[in-house]
Structure formats: structure tokens, C-alpha cells
Symmetry: D2
Subunit: 351 residues, 4 copies
């Protein structure tokens, strides 16, 4: 159910409708838009008596949302969601292209700073780096854990770049929430509903990666889990799906970008590193991702890819990332986007 408020409804009227919804045993989700506020109603029961709401002051209409996803739908919120971060002009979902870059895993303070320095200079506004790594083998490097989070916090302090890193369970999410600016939920956990609910109760924005065989509807429903708990700052990320094709590690499905944008107000990024698994494909597919209209990129960069503890073959050398950014900037201009950077000159002054 969705309560559409009148264009000039007051905040007080919105508040009263929300209160009423709670009294009826449901959860209200007020979503202010450019011209009107809509209030999504969620709850497990199927039947809902909406007569009382329709009569309330400021309410224009109460409509049934027939799609399985409600809060992520454009039916509820026409305007794009723009995720904002403190003390930076960088956004996700705004006019600026969000560029997230960094190593697959934080391996050491030196490695992390070496990569961070380069990606900041190249214009990335977000730094990625795994602290908790979901690895296929129990015997592979599983990440440095909290130590990695501390290193990334230092990097933020030094460069002003925002930190995005993955949480793999409730325990790691507690820590990621504390240290990072945005919580990543990885592809393997896209339907770890317990973790999604926990992320939905966080105050920090969430980056949700598409599962490797998730349909568009499942992808949006996973986001719906997060929003249904009250966290509306969610960005999606396409990272390739699993198919028969064997020339890339996964098959990057760029058509999901306009498909998401048609149905949902949430921003969507593209990760061409996991999406292809091959260094020589990352730059062309980054260009394509921006051209198709993605709200940002997530790219793996390593100072010494050949010595990387994970995902070396898909990590760019810093020089390659510079080149990627140069090309991406030009494509971005064509599709009406900028690539803001984070005030690089100041950062350099600090070094």
C-alpha cells in the first residue's frame, strides 16, 4: 500500500498519517519527493483497511502496489535516490559519477596507502578494500579483519576519500558500520536475508551487489529487505552473472542498468573487475558501463597485481586506472555526468 500525500501537505500531516499507520499495526516509510511525499506501508498481513487513511488531512489517495517490491519502486518515489555523505560533495545517484576503487583485499598498511594515494589522485571519491573476504576455500586468505578497517579509517583521514567495505555476518557488520562510510553486501550474501535485515537497521548506506544468478526481481527484493527495515540509502551494483560463457569470469549484464533505473529509484553501479575477471577487459567495460548510464563504477586497483593475495588477474595497475579515468571522464561528459574527484589538491598538500 502506498499513501500519496497532496503536493502541499504539511510535515505534520505526514507525521499524523505515519502515526495512524503504526497504530494499525503496520510500518510507514515516508519518502519525500520533489513535488510530493509518498508513504509506503509494509507489514506481513495481506488485508488492509485503508478507508480511514484516505479521509485524513493532506492525503490525496491510497493505492495498491501490485509489484512484489514496494519501497524500492518508482511507484513510491519518482525521483532518483541520491546518497549523500558527510564532508564530501561526492554522492551516489546524483549528477556526478561515483567512482569506487581500491584493492580486492587490504593486505598491509603499505599496500593500502600505496593504492589509495593513486586512486585519489586519479579521481576516485570512494576507496574499496576487503577486510573480511568471502573466499571459496577455507584455506585462502580471509582478510585482516579489524586491522584492515583501521587502516582504511586512516586512509579516509589522510585523503578525505570515503570508505566502502564488505560485511559478511552480523559481527563484521557491527565493525564495518563503525569504521566505514558504506557497508557492502557481497554477491554471495545477496540472499542472506538475516544480514540484509541487519544492514537495514544500520544508519550507514549500503552497497548491495547482485547475486551471481539473481534475476532482476530477486535483486530488487533483496534491496527491499534493507529498505523495509528503515534504511533507504541503498545502492545496487551489477558485477556479472554466471552463464555458460567462458571467455570472462562472469558475464557482465549491462542491460540491468537501464532495467533497474526504469523500475526503481535506487542508484546502480557497475563492477567491471568481477564482471569480467580479466584486467584487459576492465577499461572497455568501464566505458560501456558509463555509456549505458550507470551511476558509478567499482574497480579493483592494486599497486602490485601480480603479488595480490586475491583477484590479482582482474586488478588494474595504477597507471591503467589513470587511463581508465581519463576515458571514463570523456564518456561521462557525453551522457551528462561529471566525475567530481575529492579536492585532490588539498590531499596532496597533506602528503
Amino acid at each position: 500500500m502506498l499513501v500519496v500525500m497532496k503536493a502541499h501537505a504539511t510535515e505534520e500531516q505526514v507525521r499524523l498519517v505515519c502515526e495512524k499507520i503504526e497504530k494499525l499495526g503496520y510500518r510507514p516509510h515516508a519518502m519525500p519527493g520533489a513535488t510530493r511525499t509518498a508513504i509506503g506501508i509494509t507489514g506481513n498481513s495481506g488485508v488492509f483497511e485503508h478507508g480511514t487513511l484516505e479521509e485524513m488531512p493532506g492525503v490525496q489517495e491510497v493505492i495498491k502496489v501490485s509489484k512484489p517490491y514496494k519501497l524500492v519502486s518508482r511507484d513510491l518515489k519518482e525521483d532518483n535516490t541520491i546518497i549523500r555523505f558527510t564532508a564530501t560533495e561526492a554522492t551516489i545517484g546524483g549528477q556526478g559519477l561515483a567512482v569506487v576503487a581500491g584493492p580486492c583485499a587490504i593486505e598491509s598498511r603499505d599496500q593500502a596507502f600505496a593504492v589509495a594515494g593513486r586512486v585519489v589522485r586519479a579521481g576516485a571519491q570512494f576507496f574499496r578494500g576487503g577486510a573480511y573476504k568471502p573466499r571459496t576455500s577455507p584455506y585462502s586468505f580471509q582478510g585482516l579483519g579489524e586491522e584492515a578497517l583501521q587502516i582504511m579509517a586512516e586512509i579516509r583521514q589522510r585523503y578525505g576519500i570515503k570508505i566502502i567495505t564488505e560485511a559478511i555476518d552480523n559481527e563484521s557488520l557491527d565493525l564495518v558500520e563503525e569504521y566505514a562510510d558504506m557497508i557492502q553486501i557481497g554477491a554471495r550474501n545477496m540472499q542472506n536475508f538475516s544480514l540484509l535485515k541487519r544492514a537495514g537497521r544500520s544508519k550507514k548506506p549500503v552497497l548491495l551487489k547482485r547475486g551471481m544468478s539473481a534475476t532482476l526481481e530477486e535483486f530488487l527484493m533483496a534491496a527491499e529487505y534493507i529498505l523495509s527495515e528503515g534504511n533507504y540509502n541503498v545502492a545496487l551494483c551489477e558485477r556479472g552473472v554466471r552463464t555458460f560463457a567462458d571467455h570472462t569470469r562472469n558475464t557482465l549484464d549491462l542491460s540491468v542498468v537501464p532495467a533497474v533505473q526504469r523500475l526503481s529509484h535506487l542508484p546502480i553501479l557497475v563492477d567491471p573487475s568481477h564482471g569480467t575477471g580479466k584486467r584487459n577487459k576492465v577499461t572497455p567495460l568501464s566505458r560501456a558501463a558509463v555509456a549505458v548510464g550507470a551511476d558509478g563504477l567499482m574497480v579493483e586497483v592494486h599497486n602490485k597485481p601480480d603479488e595480490a593475495m586475491s583477484d590479482g588477474p582482474q586488478s588494474l595497475f595504477p597507471d591503467q586506472f589513470d587511463e581508465l579515468m581519463g576515458q571514463v571522464r570523456q564518456i561521462a561528459a557525453v551522457v551528462g555526468r561529471t566525475v567530481p574527484g575529492i579536492g585532490v589538491k588539498n590531499s596532496f598538500a597533506m602528503i
Copy 2:
């Protein structure tokens, strides 16, 4: 690494080798076989000085395991793993075919008992029923939780049937471990490594379902996570994979059964209910699963499928399950299997 003990090595010699391995900073996994004991060695470091082990009394040889999976491999343990349960002759992986049946979700005491009575009578030795349901939508029925576990514990007491139910996070696993006889890890959590590790520290056996786009190697590696924590009682379960084919909900990949049995000592069941998603396909695919050599079946049965809160279209009516069991018994006989049941007569005496 794998230490092969001599055929007549004593338990004391095995113990001393395990102690030595621990002193070297690794974890020993002693796997007694029909003719010899093998000791798997796990740990994150790549280099291992095995000279000292080879000289110890009772040791025949120390060999490198080149496959990514170690403990689940037949290289380590030639004989099939047989999972045994207290106070029942039913096993998983033995000569008897393990039949797991019950509703998708426990919806009420009445429903659960109605189904349980019928599946026991038909010859199932294991009762399945969801207490915690991983649902695509946050607004769908999520299971009765601990109440469902209590109902299933009563069912065990009444019928002597063993209980298998899914855990979806550490919290639910704590409870499932307490109430049930076997912990199920669902397809969506097959690479929830944090949950796998937790299951590996449990004393209860684990049923691990294949992820919907998991390769054979990923499937075995997920099991390896559980074994690497010390829990060697793991059964696998094929439940269909995701493909382009749209005449069934998933594509049941029966070839994975002989493929697993060739590489691993772990038993493997087949779930034709999720594997096809259609009631009219469950019985033929059950026959096929037994014919291909599966160690058991996992089948959804509901007393009123049309009113089921989840997975109704793939749930059998109890009469259909009776028929399925009749057909399966005949196929089982051809492949040298029995379908033991659980002493049904006594159970009926108790009603």
C-alpha cells in the same frame, strides 16, 4: 597434506601424530577408514615441513593433496561417510536409502502432525519442516521460529522420526542445533562462509544444499568449510540449478550425484521438489534420483498443498507420497538399496 598411517598403526600412534601436527601450528583431522587411518592437515600457510612426520612410528607416508578440497576428498578417505543417528537404524550414506519428507514450512501443530503421521507411515525416516524460511520477499511468511522447532521436537518424540531443519544465521543455528537432529544449510547460504564455519563447530550433522549456480568444486569447497572446523558429518543435497530452461523452476542436475561420489566420500541426496518446482514432476524425478545412485531423497509433502503458505505447487499430497515411496522402493532394490523405515508399527501403537 595428508598423513597415511600404516594398516596396523595403533590409536596411540595416531594420537601422537595429531599432537605433533598441532604443535607445528596446524590442525589434524583423523579419518579412520576400513583398512587404515588417514590424517588430513589443514591450516592457512602454504609451506609445510613434513620430514618430521614421516619419521614418526606408525606413519606410512605423507602426501600432498593437490585438489583444492582436502577433507571432503576420497584421497583422504576412501570409504563412504555414513552419518548415524542415535536410537534409529536410519543412516545417511549407508546401504539404506535416506528419505526426508515433510512440509516446506511448519505452519501449525495440526498441519505438522498431520503430515508427519503420513510420511512416517509411508516410510520416511527423516522429517523436514521449515522453522526459519529464507523468502525472496520480506513480506512473505518467514516461519514460526522456535515454536516450529518445539513442534518438530514433539513429532520426533511421538514418531521416532529424526528432524532436519534449516538454520539461516548464527542465532537460528543455536536453536536448530538444540532441537533438531540435523542442521540444514540452504541453497542461498551455501557460500555464507560465516554460517558454514559455525555449522562446522556444531556436534550435529549438517545437510548442505547446493547453491543455485554453484559449480561442483564450489559445492565441495562449501562442505570443506564445515569439515575444516571439525564436523565431518556432512551430507550434500542437489536441488536444481538455475538455467535458461523455463519448464521447471530449476534444472535438476542428476549428473552431479555420480560426480560427487567419484570425488568425495560424503553422501548426496536429491531434492526433486525444489529441483522441479512442479508436483507432477516430483515422482518421476525421484525415481530417476534413486536410479542414478543418490543416497536419499528430500521431498516436500503437505496435507493441504493448495493452502500451503509456501511452495504449495511443488508439495505432494500424502497419497502421492505413498505412491512415490512404492515406486522408489522398487528402483532402490535394483540399485542395491533398501528403504528401511523407522519401525512404523511401534509408532502406530503409540498413537
Copy 3:
């Protein structure tokens, strides 16, 4: 459109209705059933004035077929299609299980006879052997062509076994039609509609293999092409589909067997050799195919698999095929099927 004749309609009445349909510019397809005859009407135009037909003697009703496939549908013909061959009791689609066996390609007279002798003795009623091979590489062995057809004709004469072999274009179809008992259309040509139409104008039955990414509907529509040209003796064959799974060459989709049988009257065989691509999987999947209800098997057997010019790794040794037949016979008995053979003793008398 479908004209259902009355139960006691005369042949003359059926003939007159067919004539009328032709006069209206359409094509009639009379399909006699156990209790009634139905006449399918095909043609490209969408509008059809059926009032006149309904008034004709012997006509019960004229109904619209809403499915895209008409002639292959059970709506048109309730009874199973049974394909019969001259001078043999072997059928495809009848109570007996049809077993097709032989080498991937006919490589020489000696090889072909060596394999044929063994598969006849083991109980196969149909001999397969490629004369025209669709190979991925233009530089691979492309088959012996007409010479291979002549060798197979000799084999038929010697053993009484029926010959099935693939045609890859109109030219080879002309020759296959002349020499063989059944024309195979391979997976790569499942949507070579020009070839399907040509096969539809042949008097010989057709074995149509599923394309490697064909949906059920596409599979049935490919068969519809053949029937629409007047050839109603078509058997389908599942041979594995292409998925992400890499432990077998293809993923054998056994659920398509009951799915086809529900929608269509056409028989369906299973090819576990291409379906798995691995010798050690052929026998278990053959058991499963018979258990699921397939009308027959198509199995590659070679006297010297390691020297085979194509598909060696998936070809059985003759001894393995003997064992397969032993196991298959037992499963067949459980599902109410026999494995007739072709009067082997007489054949041996002729040697």
C-alpha cells in the same frame, strides 16, 4: 484449429472434411486416435471461418488450439505416437524401450561391424553411426559420407538392426533418406528450419535432438515444423543443455521427459553420452533416464574408444554397454517397460 470427428465417423467423412479444408486453402492433418480421429488444420493465415466445417457429417466440434504448437500437442492426439518400422517388432514410443547404440562416427567397415555385433548382442534394436559429422572445427574429421551409409546398410542386412543417422543439409538428407531407417536432425540444426521442412516431406521417421539452449516450447515448435509438412513420425531426444556447470560437457535435463510427455504425444529418448560427455556418467544417467520414463536411450559405443576419431571420452566400451543393458533392463521392468532386442539368436546364426 482442430476438427474433432465423432467417435463413429467414417473414413469417408474424414476424407471429405480434409478435402474441404484443402479447398479453403489450408492443410489438413488427420490423426486417428484410439476412440476418435482429430484433424489438425494448419496454414499461415490467422482468420479462419469454421462454420462450414462444423455442419459437415461426422464432425463433433471445431476448436481453437491456443498453444503455439498444434500438431505435436496432446490436444490434437491423446494417444502416444508409436513409430513402427518394417520387419521388426522394435518401435519407438511403444511399450518396449527403444535402445539406439553405436559409434559417434563410422570410421571404417571393420570398426562399424565390430561395434554393431556387440550392440546387437547386448539388445539394441537401433544402430547409430555418423556419416556426416557437424564438427566445431573445419579441420576435424567430417565423416565418411555415403560410404558410411553403405556400411550401415550392410549392417542392417546382416543383423536386422535398424539404422539411424544424421543429415546435416538437404543433400545429405536425400542420401540418409535412401539408406537409413530414421533420419536424425542434430542439436545444432534444431532450428535449421529449412532442413526441418525437408525432413517433414520425407517418408522416413525423424529423430529430432534438442538444441543446446532450446526451451521446451522451442523444442516442440521445431517438431511442429516437421509435422506441419506431413511427417508425423517424429521422436524427440534430450541430449543435455548448456549451463554454467562444468563437471559434465552438458547438463542432462531429465525433467524435460515428463514435461514433453505431458504436452505432446511424441516419444522422447535420452542421450546420456552427449548429455554428460563422460564415459563414467553414461550408465548411471541411463538408469535415471529409464526411471524418469524416457521412451528410449541413445548411447555411444566404440570398440576402441581411446582411438575414436570423435567423442572417444564419452563412448562406452562394449563390455560397459553390456553392463548398462543389464541394469537398464531391471529399471525398465520397474516402470513397466520391456527391452525387446531384435531376435538376436537368428542374427548370430547369420554370422
Copy 4:
């Protein structure tokens, strides 16, 4: 095998080497490059005595090509293949982006001219239109055949635009070869090897579409079939592959573009119309295709998509195609490409 000639080898020396190769029973394929000529050697036999060739005048070295594809490989020809057409500056594989546009099927003279006029004006240099349509159903519109070819020949005469249309068997190929400028082999026939060989014996260039579940290697091998018969003017076309994803008709695999360009000298186009099956996705994916580096686009445009006899939902309105071209031109400029057009003003003078 591959004979690399010296940089300054004469044409006569090349001719003599080719003659020698023929005498040895093989087929030579001379491929002149910017700095040297290479001669590919094909033939079915595995053993080849190359000593004699190495001693011939002008020969630098004879090397073994280990990849399964030989003539399509960059090992044989380093420079990009550029397909040229008479009386037009438009090329495929050159610096200019090749834009192919037109209706799925030629339905009438009026429809064809209406669309052609618009796509010429918008800048397309190639006109597509189906004369022979491979349709899933035998009852669907199968194309106007030769009449359509005649209409397209008139369109070429009127507008100077080059004609590309599909052949579906040897008979239609004879006619397409006569009327059109480039022969299209469709996705369903990508492994119709008989048709590929026939196309390989044509003097007209060939556009080969990727099969819906073709791996990169199979795609290149299909092209190899054409080249091995002596026709080196082949362009490839990605048109989406079949996966589980259901938000688009197929999953457009843009990563195959840089993958092909790395391994092969053949140009590759992208068809976002079939690749997505949805009108609203065609323009974003066209931008992405150009950004990723494709050598051209193949786009379905119809004057009245809602009345189209096939593929209406994926056909652009002419105004949408104008807009697409505007956007594509800008992206093309970023990746160093032009979109030449065909001298539109003259064309208009002729109207």
C-alpha cells in the same frame, strides 16, 4: 601452419609458395598485412613436412598455430580486417563505425522505403531487412523471399545504401548473393556448417551472428569455416546469449567485443535489438556497444513498430533512431571513431 614471408618478399615469391602448398595437397590462404604477408595453410591431415617451404625464397619462417582457429587468428594477420564495398566509403572494420539499420522483415515496398528513407537520413550506411525469416513457429510469417530482395535492390539504387540480408539455406543464399551486398548468417545457423561452407565459397562478404549459446571459441570456429573456404571478408555480430536472466530477451555480452578483438583480426558488430528485445533498452546498449569498442551496430527500425509482423517490441521508431544516432556519434568521437553516413544530400537530390 603459417608461412611468414619476409617484409620485402615479392608477389611472385608469395605465389610460388602458394603453388607449392597446393602441390603438397593443402590449401594456401595468403593474407597481406601492413608489413608482411602471411600464408595460412589448411587441410585435414595432421602431419605436415614444412622443411621444403622454409627453404623457398622470400620465406622468413614456418610456424605452427596451436589455437584451433587459424585463419581468423591475429597470429596469422596482425592488422584488422577492413571489409570494403564498391561505390561507397562505408567499410566494416575501418575507422568509421558501421551502422546497419532497417526492419526485422521486409513486409512491403512501402514499409521498406519508408524505413530506408529514414535510416539513410539518420546516417546508416547499411540497410537490413529480412527476406527469409527463421521463425520459431512454422505458422508465423516466413518472409517475402525474392520479392523482398528485389525491393532491397531498389532501395540500394535509390539511396546508395548497402544491403545486408539473411540466407537460411543454400537456395536462399544463391539469391541473397545475387541481390545483396553482404550475406547474413543468423544465430540459429551459426553451426549450420553446410551453410557456412557455402558462404565461404561466395564472393560477397558475410555477417556471422553469434549463436545463442556459443562460446567465444565456437564463434571463432564458425567464422573459420567461412574463411577456410576462401572468403576472408567476414564480420562477426554479438546479439545476446541465452541465460537465466529474464528482464531482457537475451543477455547482451559486450565483453565478447574486446575478447574477439584480442584474438582475431575480424571486425565485430553489436545488435542491441535482439540483444535486449526491448525498445527502451536499445539506445543505452547502443551507446555501450560503441563505448566498448564495437566496429558497428545493427539496429532494428520500423516505421510502425506496433504493426510489425515480427520483432515489433524491439524495433525503434524512426525518431528514436535519429536520437540514437545523435548519441552514438558523440560516443564514437570519444573512442576515436567517425560515423560517415553515405552522402545523404545526393540521395535526397534523387528523391
